[in-house]
């Protein structure tokens, strides 16, 4: 029986290349088929449904075919995912709706300063590989809290690790479900609130049945869809404009053109020095300090996020875990080094074909987005020529041509509108929608799985009922998965706000809670249980405190904790007049909306609250070192285990009963 199973598996692994090769070919064939449908007059709405419906169906079929009821398959995919494929799955796990749809838009708006996110979301993999990932693989955990519990004296450390995990993953997953809702509502014309729950059904189909195993093989399929969808429009655009199908090289010319055009706009009075933010000029949207602080937090956060670390528990060996981190970053890199090209091409199009044009002459692609309110000209949605002419007439002394300051674009539009800017058929737009959906679904799958595993394995099995039989553990995992997902969708349906900020908070929380304890647990044998627990509480607590006070209790921050106004990155002047804001009747309001004059605008050291992990991590390290040195050195036995973690050879420390 055992040999039968392993023979099946090795066949399965050997055939991976052919399976996913066929799948990729099939997907391209499907795109061509839909392109033919479009030519013979099938309406766009139907094409959109076919694209989204077909891809979700494929993910669901893969999820059902690879479902499992075996514990080690459920939690770590049987530890036999080859490095290359695990890299692809991690890529899909990593790249979310925020990366796929939002990143290029952020770069469009922020120019150079947006690159803090590109750097921050790639450089962290260096830390994963050299400091943490391979050692956790050798340790043999199912979840990150497993390691904390073993190394740091049991269930108290486990409990704190679970709290950190749930806080950061839940913040993150809410942003994903929100992204799914936006894409589904825009391309399928569903109501946003309904689209959120429809997207949720797709997410659950993949992750509920087969745990890590099903999620892994589905994520690989999703990576293939998302990378084809992301690269196709700009490759075509680059070929059309520059004759070379490598947009990552040709957009340098676009940037040079943008810079020249910026000067031209200034010279012709189409913009003012105050309104223009030159594309390549650094530190005008974030201060240099915040630029590096955000980057540092995203990098260290990468190495602390449980849903990413657990992907490296699935490789067959420690050696492959390391290779797999390299492949992960390679697959992520393919998308991230293309995002600035999207931003540059879009910006050049806007600067040459919209700004400076007569109101009646602007390019018609923008009206579709104007109707949705995503592009505004002269303060009103740019739904048609008549609408923008009417809106601009209302402005005294308007010259009748679009000025830079008249034009407002929602960041989500950049990637989604590129096919139309390039004059491509609708089928490419449908492809991009399918790609965005794949990105959001795959990340949500990974996050929900991390949360459900922590609750079922760590809380239920390890802390509440250590004798629970396998079937009941898996049933609990699935039921919890369902409730967590519904909770996330309910929260997302209320549109809590800015996706990028929410994702940033998740990273900072993860890094403040996990990073010092993980690194010290592996790299310093002298780290004691008391030290690590105290360090986790202090680091995570400080980060959470800063986040909550600056966002939700800003008046109290000023009055009791000596917080001051954030400074404007361009001028260095305070963003708000604290004395005036504190005198206002709503100064001490708690849980205010973003419109509150102080919310997110106060802090210590002019530190953006997205980067609150920067406060938590040093405190975490310091507390771990001080408390550890005050206590007795860990047992000889524990130190021997740490030695074992450091050597790839030999059996894992933790062996689970199956």
């Amino acid at each position: 029986m055992a040999t039968q199973v392993s023979a099946d598996t090795s066949d399965f692994i050997k055939n991976l290349g052919r399976m996913y090769g066929t799948y990729t070919g099939g997907f391209i064939g499907f795109i061509i088929l839909l392109a033919i449908f479009e030519q013979v007059g099938v309406p766009n709405r139907v094409l959109g449904y076919l694209f989204v419906g077909f891809t979700i169906l494929v993910y669901a079929v893969i999820g059902i075919m690879t479902r499992t009821a075996q514990i080690s398959e459920y939690y770590v995919a049987g530890r036999r995912v080859p490095a290359f494929y695990n890299g692809m799955a991690t890529g899909a796990d990593w790249m979310s709706a925020a990366s796929f749809v939002g990143m290029a838009g952020t770069l469009f708006l922020l120019g150079y300063d947006g690159l803090t996110w590109v750097l921050g979301w790639t450089g962290g993999y260096v830390l994963v590989s050299i400091l943490i990932g391979p050692y956790l693989r050798k340790f043999g955990a199912y979840t990150v809290p497993d390691f904390m519990s073993f190394r740091f004296g049991g269930n108290f450390a486990r409990g704190i690790a679970v709290i950190v995990l749930v806080c950061c993953s839940f913040t993150y997953v809410t942003a994903q479900v929100y992204g799914t809702g936006i894409i589904a509502s825009r391309f399928l014309g569903m109501k946003f609130e309904i689209a959120v729950f429809a997207g949720l059904a797709g997410i659950l189909l993949c992750s509920m049945l087969g745990g890590m195993r099903a999620v892994t093989w589905t994520q690989i399929a999703q990576y293939i869809v998302l990378i084809i969808a992301y690269l196709t429009p700009i490759v075509i655009l680059s070929t059309k404009h520059y004759g070379i199908p490598i947009p990552q090289l040709t957009y340098g010319t676009a940037i040079a053109d943008i810079t020249a055009r910026e000067q031209q706009l200034l010279a012709t009075g189409l913009t003012t020095a105050a309104a223009l933010k030159p594309h390549i000029k650094p530190f005008i949207n974030y201060s240099a300090f915040n630029f590096f602080a955000i980057m540092f937090c995203m990098m260290v956060g990468t190495a602390s996020l449980p849903h990413i670390l657990m992907r490296y528990f699935t490789t067959p060996t420690v050696r492959e875990a390391r290779q797999s981190v390299a492949w992960s970053l390679f697959f992520i890199f393919l998308l991230y080094f293309s995002a600035p090209a999207y931003a540059a091409f879009s910006k050049l199009e806007v600067y040459t074909n919209i700004i400076g044009r007569d109101l009646t002459q602007v390019r018609p692609w923008l009206f579709q987005w104007g109707e949705l309110g995503l592009i505004q000209i002269c303060g009103k949605p740019a739904a048609s020529v008549d609408a923008i002419v009417a809106a601009c007439k209302a402005i005294a002394g308007h010259p009748g041509v679009v000025r830079l300051q008249d034009f407002v674009i929602n960041t989500d539009v950049i990637v989604l509108s590129t096919p139309e800017i390039a004059g491509l058929p609708y089928v490419i737009s449908g492809l991009v929608a399918a790609g965005g959906l794949a990105a959001a679904l795959s990340t949500a799958d990974g996050l929900l799985l991390a949360i459900a595993n922590a609750l079922s394995h760590d809380v239920y099995y390890k802390m509440l009922d250590p004798n629970a039989p396998t079937i009941r553990r898996l049933t609990v995992a699935r039921v919890l998965l369902f409730f967590v997902a519904v909770a996330a969708a309910s929260l997302a349906a209320t549109k809590p706000g800015d996706i990028l900020a929410m994702v940033g908070w998740a990273f900072s929380l993860a890094m403040a809670g996990n990073f010092p304890a993980l690194v010290m647990g592996i790299w310093w044998k002298r780290t004691t249980a008391a030290g690590a627990v105290a360090g986790m509480i202090a680091g995570f607590g400080l980060c959470l405190f800063y986040l909550l006070v600056t966002r939700y209790f800003p008046g109290y921050g000023v009055k009791y904790f000596g917080m001051t106004s954030m400074l404007s990155p361009a001028t260095g002047a305070p963003l708000v007049d604290i004395a005036k804001a504190m005198a206002a009747p709503n100064a001490m309001e708690i849980w205010p909306t973003l419109a509150h004059p102080l919310a997110n605008k106060v802090g210590w050291f002019n530190l953006n609250n997205i980067a609150c992990g920067l406060l938590g991590v040093p405190v975490g390290f310091a507390v771990i070192i001080i408390v550890s040195l005050m206590g007795k050195e860990p047992s000889r036995e524990m130190q021997a285990y740490v030695d074992e973690i450091r050597k790839p050879r030999g059996r894992t420390i933790l062996e689970e009963k199956t």
């Binding site: 590109v118 993999y125 073993f150 981190v325 890199f333 285990y641 030999g650």
Partner: protein, 125 residues
């Protein structure tokens, strides 16, 4: 530790078949259980020293390409890459550092594996 079977006693049961040229490893692995023999300890120590040194080297490269080079973005932007027309400071943040990170990770995986093999603590192929 509850139902979790932790190495220790069952550690002896997990030996994988060893090849002829790996006799040296037998001693090493035996001492990994007891952990008292001085020669083996120093081998482990040297392995960990080299690992730490490699870690610090890569951490240094990471700091340089992640942070230090971007601190000089303003002067670097005066340099334009020929043909491609990218300002160098912008290019480093948009692509240059990313390429370094990817290459670095593949190199690291190979170097660490070499260290592991030299000291007989690598996994069987």
């Amino acid at each position: 530790m509850g139902p979790t079977a932790v190495a220790g006693a069952d550690y002896t049961t997990c030996n994988r078949p060893l090849r002829q040229n790996q006799t040296a490893l037998v001693t090493l692995r035996a001492t990994a259980r007891g952990g008292d023999e001085p020669m083996a300890q120093s081998n482990d120590e040297v392995h960990w020293q080299k690992t730490t040194k490699l870690m610090l080297t890569h951490l240094g490269i990471w700091v340089f390409f992640g942070y230090i080079i971007h601190m000089f973005v303003v002067p670097l932007n005066y340099i334009t890459i020929p043909i491609l027309k990218f300002p160098l400071g912008f290019y480093m943040a948009a692509q240059g550092s990313l390429i370094v990170f990817v290459v670095m990770l593949f190199v690291f995986a190979r170097q660490q594996d070499q260290i592991d093999r030299e000291h007989g603590v690598a996994e069987d192929d």
